[in-house]
Structure formats: C-alpha cells, structure tokens
Amino acid sequence: MSKRTTIDARGAFCPGPLMELIATLKLVQIGDEIDVLSSDKGSAIDIPAWVGKVKHEMVEIAEETDYWHIVVRKIK
C-alpha cells in the first residue's frame, strides 16, 4: 500500500525544497508519493526537471494561491 508524505517547504529558498524532497525520498518506499509544498517559484520548474533526469515520476503539479503542490512518486 503506497503512502503519501507531505513536506511543507514553504518559505524555503532554492534549492531548499529540492534538497528536502531528495532527503525524504531516501526514507520512503518505492511507489510512495511525496507532496512538496513550495512557495519558491523555481521549484515548480526545477523539481520536475530533476525528477525527469533521475527517473522518478511526476504525479501532479498544482498551483495554489501562493504556493505549489509538487507530487512525486519514488520509482527506484
């Protein structure tokens, strides 16, 4: 059963949200999802690019009023 973990990285500057995502990816199981909440504009571009490069999977990216939900699934 896959789980979803939320990381509230709002207020953190680049590359803080990415680093928090990567640290958390080490802790969760394959198939689990991580929902990164980020107010850093660059994360909405950088995190999907990183996910594509290292071959995890983007599940969803959604913009709220002043932050983004960036949902990533651990593949390997």
């Binding site: 953190a12 500057f13 590359p15 680093m19 080490k26 290292v54």
Partner: protein, 130 residues
C-alpha cells in the same frame, strides 16, 4: 554517467560561495559527480571555527542573511550526504595560512590536494571557477 563537474572555489565572498554551494549540491544530487577544490580566502569557510552567522559579502549577502537562504556550508554537507561529492583543500593555501587538515571540518573536506592533480583530473569533465 554524466561527466564530473569540477569546481575551484577561491573567493571568500558570500555571493560566490553561495553560488558554488548551490551549483555543487544540485549537481551532486542530480547524479553528477562533483569535485571541489577549495583555496585562497574560501578555505576559511571550511575551518571548524568558521562563524556561519557572519559571511563577508555585498548587498546580496545581506539580503540572503536577512531572508535566511539555505546556509552554504549546509548545502555542501547535503550534497555530500545525498550525492557523490568530494572536497579537497588546496595544500598550497593550507601551507601559506598554516592550516592543518585537523583544523578543517572532517565531514566536509575529504583530503588535502594539489592543483596539478585536480587540473589533470578535470580534463575529463567541466571546470567552473568561483
């Protein structure tokens, strides 16, 4: 495997140190091996007695410290823990400043190193200087 990114960090300016730390850590966590050669004024940053609350820099440094951007040393630490990064302290700068390897953060600095070997290794990758 992506070719190694080689970084020479010699400036003591906060802005350059921050950019080097961001570049090194993001590359390392993006499956790109990174080697950092630290020399000149940047060496002080890797001393155990370095005060992280007091970086020297210009206007942007003040802004970064006020707004609490990720600390440069912490970014290097994260890059090492989460990726493939090695940091070498320039043996010439250590001699001139009379710094021993034991004066530097052991968790950060892998070894003392010479510029000749670093440049030779860097022929196989890309080199950036800060």
């Amino acid at each position: 495997m992506t070719p190694t990114l080689f970084i020479i960090l010699c400036s003591g300016e906060h802005e350059k140190i921050q950019m080097a730390a961001m570049t090194a850590s993001v590359a390392a966590v993006s499956d790109r091996p990174v080697e950092v050669f630290v020399s000149m004024n940047a060496l002080a940053l890797f001393r155990k007695d370095f005060d992280r609350t007091h970086y020297e820099g210009g206007e942007f440094s003040k802004l970064m410290q006020e707004r609490k951007v990720p600390d440069a040393i912490e970014l290097f630490e994260q890059g090492k823990v989460l990726g493939d990064m090695k940091i070498y302290a320039c043996s010439m700068a250590m001699d001139v400043a009379q710094i021993e390897l034991g004066d530097l953060f052991g968790e950060l600095v892998d070894d003392a190193g010479g510029l000749t070997k670093f440049l030779s290794d860097a022929e196989s990758g890309q080199l950036i200087v800060f």
